[in-house]
Amino acid sequence: MLELEHLSRRFGDKTAVADASLTIAHGEMVGIIGRSGAGKSTLLRLINRLIEPSAGRILSDGRDVTGLRGAELRAWRARTAMIFQQFNLVNRLDVLTNVLCGRLNQMPTTRVLFKIFTPAERALAIRALDRLGLADVAMNRADALSGGQQQRVAIARALMQEPSVMLADEPIASLDPINAKVVMDALLDINQRDGITVLTNLHTLDTARTYCRRIIGMAAGRVVFDGKPEELTESVLHTIYGDAGDGAVLDERMTSTSLPMGIIPAMAR
């Protein structure tokens, strides 16, 4: 169980996350929605401890992880794998090595410096790539792949960390609808078959409705909604997204890039 207690983060005089308190059970798939700048990315980065909170605590199964330092902090990061909007792969490395990066936390540094991976680690990397349908491109350079493939490589890297939580920061915002569906299906599959908790920021409401049984809405750094997709009424959406200032009504079709479930065959498993 992951608990956030009164978590806040300020950048200068700007508050990115304000007093966020949440409890997330093992194996949940949670979508976080909100406008740009609502603090969604900051929240995920706080959980991974890429940035430090200004106030508040993060508890994992009752253990305070806010004060972790050094090796313990890095182990925590490995347990809470991150997926980024821009994939954040190392362009000049091949796909295999990018995926093997997911093992770095478990490896002795000397072995890392000389780029020595054991056969078992390599076999595991192929297993991870196989699951995402990418074993064929293992030896290609990461930047030679399409965006959708790159994001799946990033997911394979995250899986290699053997995480208990996966934090996906706008994983499909740079992808076309079909690749977006492939990536979201992969996240759902990981959530359901491996029991890994998935927390994902989404800027498309219908994707959140389709994939997540629980949705958190953020506005101006605060958690303003926490419930089931059915409870997202017009007035709730208004609280989350506000209005455009010119009286325009929010139209889900305008923000959607996702395809309905079942349009394309599920990817090879």
């Binding site: 680690e121 076999a123 595991l124 053997e162």
Partner: protein, 288 residues
């Protein structure tokens, strides 16, 4: 069965995967053997070179070195030295380095673009430009200086030309390599606006390579100020000429003084270039 746990990976799976994708499991025995042979040969050659080097001479020369050091430290005649001439020559040396480097930048910028494969895809043309850079760079500044001293006579002009030619080769190569590592997306973005080739290079490429360029040019000016001292030794103007005169008449106290002048100058140039680099690269990155 497909869980991603390292503990689930057994020898059977490793063997199966190795069979399926050998490339993933790294080098074959043959590749490894070749690598060790190459390493071994390089190590053996190094050991041989060390054996060639005659350490005995170092020890026999120590006594003379001690005498020279003592002479160098005796600055009692300080007020009688020709300070005006020395400082003028120092300024001349820095001016030579600066002018030579700047001329080289002007020449090297277009050449750099011509030598980058992502700008000029024609192989033959690029091969020729690259070999031209090699030629300019491969012949040392000192050799160029000797040539130009014969051609235009003793003095700083020969030094400026020598620095310019040698550095054009260096800069053109470094610029070309910087251009080859640019992010294509940014260039595409500028080209998509309807910009012509030169415009696109100006706004799609130059901003990306500017920090690298500034850094390299500043370093080269600094390094040339040091090396221009040597150019003076062959008659290409500047402080080096004064230095060689004083070495010839065994005026070791003044030699030490000249060396101190050079060190101070290099330190000042280093300081100024660090300031400039921070300033210029800072704005360059803000401009994207």
């Amino acid at each position: 069965m497909n869980s991603i746990r390292l503990s689930d990976i057994g020898p059977a799976e490793i063997a199966a995967q190795r069979q399926r994708m050998p490339a993933v499991f790294g080098m074959t025995g043959r590749d490894r053997a070749i690598r060790w042979i190459v390493f071994g040969a390089a190590a053996a050659y190094l050991a041989y070179l060390h054996w060639l080097f005659d350490f005995g001479r170092v020890f026999s020369g120590l006594e003379k070195l001690w005498v020279i050091t003592r002479l160098m430290l005796d600055w009692s005649a300080f007020s009688s030295w020709d300070h005006v001439e020395l400082i003028q020559s120092m300024v001349e040396t820095v001016a030579m380095a600066y002018l030579g480097s700047m001329l080289a930048v002007v020449l090297a910028l277009p050449l750099g673009f011509l030598g980058a494969y992502n700008i000029v895809p024609q192989r033959v043309f690029r091969f020729l430009t690259r070999r031209l850079f090699d030629g300019m760079r491969g012949i040392d500044q000192l050799i160029w200086a000797l040539v130009f001293v014969r051609a235009v006579g003793l003095g700083p002009i020969a030094g400026i030309l020598a620095i310019c030619i040698a550095d054009t080769g260096v800069f053109a190569k470094l610029f070309a390599e910087a251009i080859e590592t640019i992010d294509r997306k940014q260039l595409d973005g500028v080209t998509s606006t309807g910009a012509n080739r030169l415009q696109a290079l100006r706004f799609g490429v130059v901003p990306q390579i500017l920090p690298v360029m500034i850094s390299q040019v500043l370093y080269q000016i600094e390094s040339n100020s040091r090396e221009a001292t040597i150019l003076g030794l062959v008659g290409a103007g500047g402080i080096g000429l004064r230095l060689s005169e004083r070495i010839q008449i065994n005026a070791w106290d003044q030699v030490a003084y000249v060396i101190v002048l050079v060190l101070i100058t290099v330190a000042v140039i280093d300081f100024v270039s660090r300031l400039l680099r921070m300033r210029l690269i800072g704005t360059a990155s803000r401009r994207g």
